[in-house]
Symmetry: C2
Subunit: 549 residues, 2 copies
């Protein structure tokens, strides 16, 4: 049978009022434009779809709209974008007990006891952040001490550095740890004075014995954790994030939120390896889902470890560990296979590379594969911490994006000097050199490894100094970037790194109305003021998703 058009579609001929347009008025608006230039404005208009339709500058007439929002004279910035984080890690972190602020064993035990009482339904009590040095204890705590706080359920708590865990008796029983348990290679089960009874402390590889016994999160716990992650990130002014290492479980939690209308964070997702990539997205990246809130962009892979544990892969041995150069976690052939597999499906690879050997290898592998797989692929290297200066120019080739975390520079600087010595730091955290050579930056936090606070990141990016202002004048200060470059790194350039330019990252007509209202203009304030920024409100797609108390 045939379709006949009986009447012309009339809808477009009828003048409809823009019935849900919103004018956000009385703000000190700051954004970067398409050329990276600063643009200031006093108001903007949001349409029914949550997109910006107009920026209003000083002296311009305001249009008539149906709703009016008074910005109360606050600074309006584009929503902050974290180019490298771990969303579910943030969420589960928010759900577990944080002992990092405790100053004595007694204080910690009180906090553990109270947390267990507040969380009666949880079958295990999990936490992190204890530090017996800070407590002035002079020894590790014991299972018996932990039992005195919680004896009805297993408890397992990670040390502040993640290199040791503290279990109570029920947790050890669940893990089948007894007097006859042997320490595994690379780890140690601490013993009591009798030399046999496990003390409750598990160091390095021995932690895995306990972790294997911790039950996987229940599905409602994942949803709760994701809701917490959104809350935490929005409270820091973050409206979008690149999630590094998305598993199918993570993805399903994101989708459940999207399906039930509670997804408020924009997530550019990089799968935890190529199998998860194909399971989640199929043969090609997902479309943008839920009004540009979720997309599986590509795949995260690990080329080496980290400097702290001397797992970063270096060209020469560690200065403080002669003979050790670290190791590639992904052998050359496997790296190239994964890059090809990703490229064949138009997935975007994001290669973790910290040491100079790892960065050289990532650059070489990408250069080789890019010969066959051209076009706008936005190959990403994550961290890019230590690069041989001779390799730096390669970062500008093939459109490679250096996805870096400013705060890592201040957290790592003295350790990096110990690990490498001054002579090998010419390409360390080399933000400005990368830009000067024509490369592209995107800035993030690596949350929950660091705080997700982008204002701390902005302050570091323009100073190379930590929160205490040290070192005075900045560490290797020629690698500072300008305020505008720093803001771009946490907004427009982070969007570009995730193929999201034009969708969000700038406050321009046609983009999603993702913005924050803060008390500080990061282009004008002191670094201290930038660090102290208060986020009053966070908006995503024209909807308020966070408001400070």
């Amino acid at each position: 049978m045939k379709i006949k058009l009986l009447a012309a579609l009339m809808a477009s001929a009828i003048a409809m009022p823009a019935h849900a347009d919103v004018l956000v008025e009385n703000v000190k608006g700051v954004t970067l434009d398409e050329n990276g230039a600063v643009k200031r404005f006093e108001a903007l208009v949001i349409d029914d779809d949550g997109k910006i339709t107009q920026l209003i500058e000083r002296g311009q007439d305001r249009p008539r709209t149906d709703y009016l929002e008074d910005g109360e004279g606050r600074v309006m910035l584009p929503g902050m974008i974290d180019a490298h984080g771990h969303v579910m890690g943030v969420g589960f972190g928010a759900l577990t007990l944080d002992l990092s602020d405790t100053n004595s064993l007694e204080e910690a035990l009180d906090k553990i006891r109270a947390f267990a009482a507040e969380n009666e339904a949880r079958p295990w009590i999990l936490g992190r952040g204890w530090n017996q040095e800070k407590w002035g204890l002079g020894r590790f705590p014991t299972a018996a001490e932990l039992d005195s706080a919680v004896a009805d359920r297993p408890v397992y708590l990670a040390r502040v550095d993640g290199h040791a865990g503290w279990a109570n008796s029920l947790a050890m029983r669940a893990a089948n740890i007894t007097s006859s348990s042997k320490s595994p290679a690379g780890g140690r089960i601490e013993k009591l004075a009798d030399g046999k009874t496990p003390s409750g402390i598990f160091v390095d590889a021995a932690e895995e014995l306990m972790n294997a016994a911790v039950p996987a999160p229940r599905p409602n716990e994942r949803d709760l954790a994701f809701a917490e992650a959104q809350k935490v990130l929005h409270s820091y002014g973050i409206t979008a994030i690149a999630d590094m290492g998305t598993t199918i479980e993570d993805w399903q939690a994101f989708r459940r939120a999207g399906d039930n209308g509670s997804l408020t964070l924009r997530i550019m997702s990089y799968a935890a390896g190529p199998d998860q990539m194909n399971l989640i997205a199929g043969a090609t990246p997902s479309p943008w889902l839920y009004d540009d809130k979720l997309r599986m962009n590509g795949v995260k892979l690990y080329l080496d470890g980290a400097l702290g544990s001397r797992g970063a892969w270096l060209k020469q041995p560690y200065a403080d560990d002669p003979g050790n150069t670290g190791l590639p976690l992904t052998p050359p052939a496997a790296l190239r296979n994964i890059l090809v597999r990703a490229a064949q499906g138009n997935f975007q690879p994001a290669v973790h590379a910290i040491g100079d050997a790892a960065n050289a290898e990532a650059l070489n592998a990408i250069s080789e594969i890019a010969e066959s797989y051209g076009g706008d692929r936005r190959w990403r290297i994550e961290h890019v911490q230590i690069v041989d200066p001779a390799d730096l120019p390669k970062l500008a080739q093939h459109g490679i994006i250096a996805s870096m975390q400013p705060v890592h520079q201040t957290s790592d600087m003295f350790m990096a000097e110990a690990r490498l010595g001054q002579d090998r730091l010419g390409g360390a955290y080399a933000w400005n050199s990368i830009l000067q050579l024509g490369g592209r930056l995107a800035f993030g936090s690596d949350t929950p490894v660091e705080s997700p606070d982008p204002f701390a990141g902005l302050a570091v990016a323009i100073t190379r100094s930590n929160a205490a202002g040290e070192p005075f004048g900045g560490w290797r200060p020629t690698e500072r970037v300008t305020r505008e470059q720093a803001l771009a790194g946490f907004t427009a350039d982070a969007a570009y790194a995730g193929f999201a330019e034009g969708r969000f990252g700038r406050l321009l007509p046609g983009e999603r109305a993702d913005f924050i209202l803060v008390d500080t203009d990061p282009l004008l304030a002191t670094p201290e003021e930038i660090r102290a920024t208060t986020v009053h409100e966070t908006w995503v797609g024209g909807r308020k998703v966070y408001e400070a108390d």
Copy 2:
């Protein structure tokens, strides 16, 4: 800041033309109404959302709409709903070589050779349906014969009954099968005359040695398979299906289709076990997604096997295998645990039960759990083939749904007599008894185990006879159902069984416009005519998704 309403929303005050309404005119419309009564009509109106707004009966005025469809006098029925199928199985079946129509080894080899040539990109050639008895071969075929057709890639082909597989040399090499390979328990690696060299035939448990070597489908193959499944099912007039045993890979393929707008089949999904249920849906069933096209309803579990392989769990030993009663695949405690876990999340369990012991156990377990988990839960038992007449009344308790496949009755009837003897068949495929006792039926096909053709199912449901009209008068004919009951089983009652009533399954205002145009009225035609029904068009949500050539 505060929101102020500047103007009342005006949209509702403006009279809009119903600009995309469609009048489907000139049909012989048949549906069941909310009370199960037959309703006939001549036209219907579909709105912009693909929902029915009006049924027009003889003599009623037609409304003015913008589009007109001429049904050319055909019979319009609600879209058929298959209450038990395996969607991806249908799709992968459509992508693999079907040898069931070959009448000689030579014909089969020609067909295999041609298929391999047409499918150059496939790394393995997979197929099914060969039968050396039908070929008059008097022996199994060999790997060498298969090599003569395809020697450049592994080939592995399942026998028509699935109890043997035929491999070529490259497939055996991929599976590491050599002269020293031993037959596993419960299976046999066939040997050549030398008694050592594997012949290429793998029987029963030995099939697993080959299946383990067959590569998992690539992601684009899954998408292709799902597209094929939709095509096949729509061509039979099926607009919705309960997918039994959905894995995360299946679900992702469904979602990809939903995300890119190519999902045209409505899927009520039952996960492949409780872990997949939680991985896919989280703590509770998914919402209806994509305009009522996809929902994770619950979980499929297996309580026993099948009659053919004597895996069905019986109260007394098999008549043709004394001492064997079959076995429960899920022990009592595990069954109850899974039912409780599902009920706690408001998931709907669908318990496969074929033998009378399995059905008794399913009924008992559901009755026990239903004491604590009341409300409208629609516990499902799948197949319900052999029930002790003493247990039949329990099917009407707790709202249990008997999800049955009419064609299984004619496929199995003589085998069932052999397996059980006449005296134990009083509750066999007892559709009418279940209805008379106040139970609820839903009808399906178990495709790809049987053809998905619902018209074959309708014909069997009202006759208890197979396509050859045998046995004359029907097998245990008191268990026939009426034409209206049969139609309900494949439409409204199958929707109810998946919590979809009011969304689809009837042609009534407010429901999705899922309908088919056919040449035969199943309430008036002979069983032979019903079986020969031609589906001319299939529509889902007011969109044509299939049209016969």
